[in-house]
């Protein structure tokens, strides 16, 4: 298994299956953990950082977290490989861009990954397609227990699991659910949904987490607090209340659009597909925007000649690192626009 093999498919989070997959793209849970008896990363000497990386790499590989795992020495990886992992949500942008000794353990089916020496010594994450937090939380607890059997984590009687940033203290648990909300965006009701999210104490982010803009109508909702509630309570709220609410809003907006303005929807969807099939130069932002509308069309059953799987794969394969890996060469931005357009025409069955 090599990194390049990843580019053959869309990975777990874009498989396009699982409950409520018309609106919920993926469910992700992460845990922040630090070794007891060690300073947090920014206060470690260079030697301590190297020791941590070597020690945690050994412990995680010995723990057997998944049938088959891949260890990536992120510090030694090429920029393109690091970017590829970010695009696949296997490591964070922060992790890709840091300058410390660091690595990532990745289950080859991409349902789990562990970042070593990110903001905390360990960031464990589990990913599932659709709304599947019940399985995700069970899986992450299992991995956490396997690791805890080999390493003592910093823990405080009062504050729980200790983290470098106090906004993660306690459970260290962050749930992120990725939603596709094109109809709410089209009807302008997205503001109302955001206000509702705010009232539910949720953070809203773009496709690639903190500090990123929402592109292609994808939004991530995540819990802001990690202390004072049990892991089960945090997850339960997402399953029972928050996610169903967003799904309900979006579905209502979709059926409303179809009832009142089916023609306008068809026009938008068909034009988007037509541009994707005809463009000779296209940026990844425009691609995302158009694919988002095509995905809406597929989900509403207004477009039958493109599959959901294809659309999901294209979201990923047209991004800069994936495009270059798939084509097997490094390309400057303007060359990418041309290559991307060619790739899209080929995959969408146009001339």
């Amino acid at each position: 298994m090599k990194l390049a093999d990843f580019t053959r498919s869309a990975g777990e989070w874009l498989r396009g299956v699982g409950p409520m997959h018309d609106v919920v793209i993926s469910s992700r849970i992460r845990l922040a953990r630090n070794l007891a008896g060690m300073p947090f990363l920014t206060r470690c000497t260079a030697e301590q950082q190297r020791d941590l990386e070597a020690r945690l790499r050994k412990d995680i590989l010995a723990a057997g977290i998944a049938p088959q795992v891949l260890y990536v020495d992120v510090a030694a990886a090429s920029e393109l490989d690091r970017r590829l992992l970010v695009e696949r949500h296997l490591i964070s942008r922060h992790h890709a861009e840091a300058d410390t000794p660091r690595g990532a353990v990745i289950a080859v089916d991409e349902t789990a990954s562990i970042m070593v020496n990110e903001e905390d010594h360990l960031r464990i994450q589990v990913l599932r397609s659709g709304l599947d937090l019940t399985n995700a939380v069970a899986e992450i607890e299992r991995i956490d227990d396997l690791l805890a059997a080999r390493a003592d984590f910093a823990f405080h009687d009062r504050y729980g699991y200790l983290t470098a940033c106090p906004t993660n203290v306690g459970t260290g648990l962050r749930v992120s659910v990725m939603l596709h909300l094109p109809a709410l965006k089209m009807t302008g009701e997205i503001e109302k949904a955001f206000r509702a999210a705010h009232d539910m104490h949720l953070a809203i982010r773009g496709l690639y987490g903190e500090g990123t803009e929402a592109t292609g109508d994808f939004f991530q909702i995540s819990n802001q607090t990690t202390l004072g509630r049990t892991e089960e309570q945090i997850v339960e709220e997402f399953i029972e209340q928050m996610v169903p609410k967003f799904v309900e809003y979006e579905r209502a907006a979709r059926s409303g659009l179809l009832q009142r303005r089916a023609n306008a929807v068809d026009d938008k969807v068909q034009r988007s597909l037509a541009v994707l099939r005809a463009a000779r130069l296209i940026s990844s932002e425009e691609t995302m925007y158009l694919l988002s509308l095509v995905r809406l069309g597929v989900n509403l059953d207004r477009l039958r000649d493109v599959g959901l799987q294809t659309v999901n794969e294209l979201f990923l394969l047209t991004q800069p690192a994936h495009l270059q890996k798939t084509l097997g060469k490094e390309l400057a931005p303007e060359q990418r626009a041309e290559a991307r357009a060619g790739f899209l025409r080929k995959r969408l069955g146009a001339g």
């Binding site: 007891a36 060690m38 459970t171 104490h201 049990t230």
Partner: protein
């Protein structure tokens, strides 16, 4: 695309197209105006800003808040700048100031009620190890290698106990 905010003329970062009654309305707003309009939610304030607001509200001008962790050497004002703590001991060393901040960031909560690692009883030794590591670091810095070697042995002994 229009690049200035409709309201204040600052660079626009939020671009929105609304369709109401068949009319297309385009809005271009800066981050602050978008948040005011409720279009974007500045719900997740960066911790650095949270810290800044908090310090301004609770600390009288001229009052010294600079506590220092005697294990990792981080001061509270350094924490203010980077928003990252230096070691587990900071959670005790920064005492009430940090507690009040956690309370604010965590919607009032200051007590963990979730999972705890098995064998949490052995935790006291980790505090000792953390201290010994800090001493080791300064011994190495002072080129006192004999002391450093003794400290290394002691750390190893404790870790394996």
């Amino acid at each position: 695309m229009k690049s200035e905010c409709d309201k204040c003329g600052k660079p626009a970062t939020v671009h929105l197209t609304e369709i109401a009654d068949g009319q297309k309305i385009e809005k271009h707003l800066c981050e602050d105006c978008a948040a005011q309009e409720g279009i974007t939610v500045k719900a997740n304030l960066p911790i650095s800003q949270l810290l800044e607001d908090f310090i301004l509200q609770t600390v009288a001008p001229g009052q010294s808040t600079d506590v220092k962790c005697d294990v990792c050497g981080l001061t509270f004002s350094e924490f203010r700048q980077k928003a990252l703590l230096g070691c587990p001991n900071d959670y005790d060393a920064f005492g009430q100031v940090l507690e009040a901040l956690i309370q604010r960031a965590q919607e009032g909560a200051t007590q963990h009620i979730g999972k705890a690692p098995a064998g949490a009883a052995g935790r006291k030794k980790h505090g000792t190890i953390l201290r010994l590591r800090a001493q080791l670091r300064s011994a190495v810095g002072q080129e006192d290698y004999e002391r450093a070697a003794r400290l290394r042995d002691r750390i190893k002994e404790l870790e394996e106990s």
